[in-house]
Amino acid sequence: MSGAGTVKLKINGVEVTAYEGETILEAAKRAGIRIPTLCYLDGLSNYGSCRLCIVEIKGSPKLFPSCTTPVSNGMEVITDSERLRKYRKMTVELLLSEKPHVCAVCVANGNCELQDLAKEFGVDHLRFDREWTRQKIDLTHDFLVIDNNRCILCTRCVRVCDEIEGVHVLDIKARGKDSQIIVDMDEDWGSSRSCTSCRKCARVCPVGAIYVRDKPISETKDKDIAQFIISRRRR
């Protein structure tokens, strides 16, 4: 593959051909190189908030989020280095200490992307004090629950609801550390008239923040759902 519409770049020293306009993450994925991600979800718009997918580009002292940085010809990308690993571990540590993430009493225990990353980066203790937040837990919906005290604000739920389900029930209110996912205009989920109860939000939530009550989470999580729907719609 080469010619019009493609570019050549190097990822970790290996030459890779990619489509013009593709992101570094996509190019790496096709080349079989895994870059850790959290807010990225195939099929949704790229958001660039978790900063786990950062990579180095030769010739620049800056770091680049691979999920939003487009490839260019001759680019030399490094996806793994001591500095990157140190920073990714810091991100996971910070997320774990931002809210009361107590895996033992979390529905997502064993099926949580944050937990997986903590294992991957060897987070065995937290260097920061945990915050014991008291954010909204909404139990009013028939079977869907949101517990903001576990939310990592990746907005996968917001984006899947807006971009795939097409209703934009969910959004963020407030800012900074007080940011919270809300339903409609910050109303109870149970009284929402816009929610179609499609569960897409629960299927893409990487942690235990949005889940289907009384169901094993292993059955309700499905982070490929957005890509699956898009590919079906295209047929």
Binding site: G48, P70, Y87, M90, L94, D129, G176, K177
Partner: protein, 553 residues
Amino acid sequence: MVLKPEDILRIAREEAERQRSYRYRINVCCSSGCLPFGALQVLKAFEEAIKEFGLQGECRVSRTGCVGTCSVGPVVLIEPGGYLYQNVTPENAREIVKSHIVSGKPVKELLYANEAFFKKQLRLVLRNAGKIDPLKIEDYIAAGGYSALIKCLTKMTPKEVIDEVIASGLRGRGGAGFPTGQKWNFVAREKNTPKYVVANLDEGDPGVFANRTLAEADPHAIIEGMAIAAYAVGAEKGYIYVRAEYPLAVQTLREALKQARSMNLMGKNILETQFSFDIELRLGAGAFVAGEETGILASIEGRRAMPRPRPPYPATSGLWGKPTLIQNVETLANVPLIILNGGSWFAKIGTPKCTGTKCFSLTGKVNNPGLIEVPMGITLREVVFEIGGGVPSGRRFKAVLVGGPSGGCLPESLLDLSIDYESLTKAGAIMGSGGIVVIDDESCMVDTAWFFTDFCVDESCGKCVPCRVGLLKMRNILERIMKGEGRLEDLDILSELGEYVRDVSLCGLGQTAPNPVLTTLRYFRDEYITHIFDKRCPAGKCFRSQVSMKEAP
């Protein structure tokens, strides 16, 4: 009224002549700094006194914008001669008219005494501030205003305009210092239309007021700069984004736009040329991050002012996905001067890599606080000790914070640093939007770092993890140290976190917010150590020392 370029030039001549016919011009500052101290009453008192002495034909009393010495307001400037009166009361007004105007004897006791404040300044952007009435477009025109736009529209191609700006070496005054002409080029070469020009007047940094002052004092300089930029890049529509906390700036700009439209300087076929351009005001609700370039775009579009990753840069995909030029208002106000005097004239001011002047809001523990404009390359010492007159007596200079809340705290040993983008960045500070805060030995540097970190915690938009959580943890560690519960490891964690937040954050807020902590750790580490080991705050500021003072027998 349909006006042509010649008409504007004629108006300029006539108005300038009329102004020369006055023996005296009494300029009363009615900008935000002086208003609360009764500037409007002073203005009225002058008008009455002039009437009382029958001097209407000989004197013109006008409201003007800020002269820069806001801490001694209300301020009155009498021309000719540049006599500056400070702390003027309505009672003083009559006295000044009687003595200065009638008898030709300036009232010495009331004159501003700190000559040094103006000596090293070079007022180009603030050329008209304090001298013209911002609510009278004729004043601006008489001072040479809009002739740069006319020159562009009648004698220059858009490319020539851009080349002139490139030749000037002008760099963005909004903080990052990106070459302005180069940015214009990026937008100009885009094929996608319509294109937009956005003037950034958000100015969310606390203690910084240069942009507000400029808008209040000389709104047409911003508008003219924007029109020239629009002509150069091929835009027909512009937005000025002002925070709603700046009501006087909003009002002044609104009136200025109305007057510009009525004179055919704005709108369809400006001055009977092919060029059409109009500007809309957009009010921001006042979030620091709304000044970030992609944040401002989201806000103008009516969405949450959340930054987004770049690329795509606004130059290719800005407002509603269209090419958009975003420029700080001070940057824009430089443009008419560059067009009139030439890029090479401008390039000679300042330093070779950092041309022109920069406005700074000088505050904190300094004798002459206020708004200043200085050539780039001036040293911090000149600014703090000559223009600023040094630290009020009884106290010693300790540090100077350069670049607003996410600037760096620089120690005495760096006072001879040249003020330019590169030197500041190397020292750990930034140009930012031009805040300089002088800190004396009464302040604790840990407390100072905490104060600014706390501001950034509050202002973080919350989108990305480093800024949202990293800064919060930094603030919490500082708090612990201030309570006397710090550990030595905290210092390493603070540096590590600081570097992480700086390197990994999505937008400029997070990327610069650790500066106060990183620079105080670098230059004032001993103060942290004293807090941690001696459980004592050297300046007697922090929680623990207050507690222990109370506990002490």
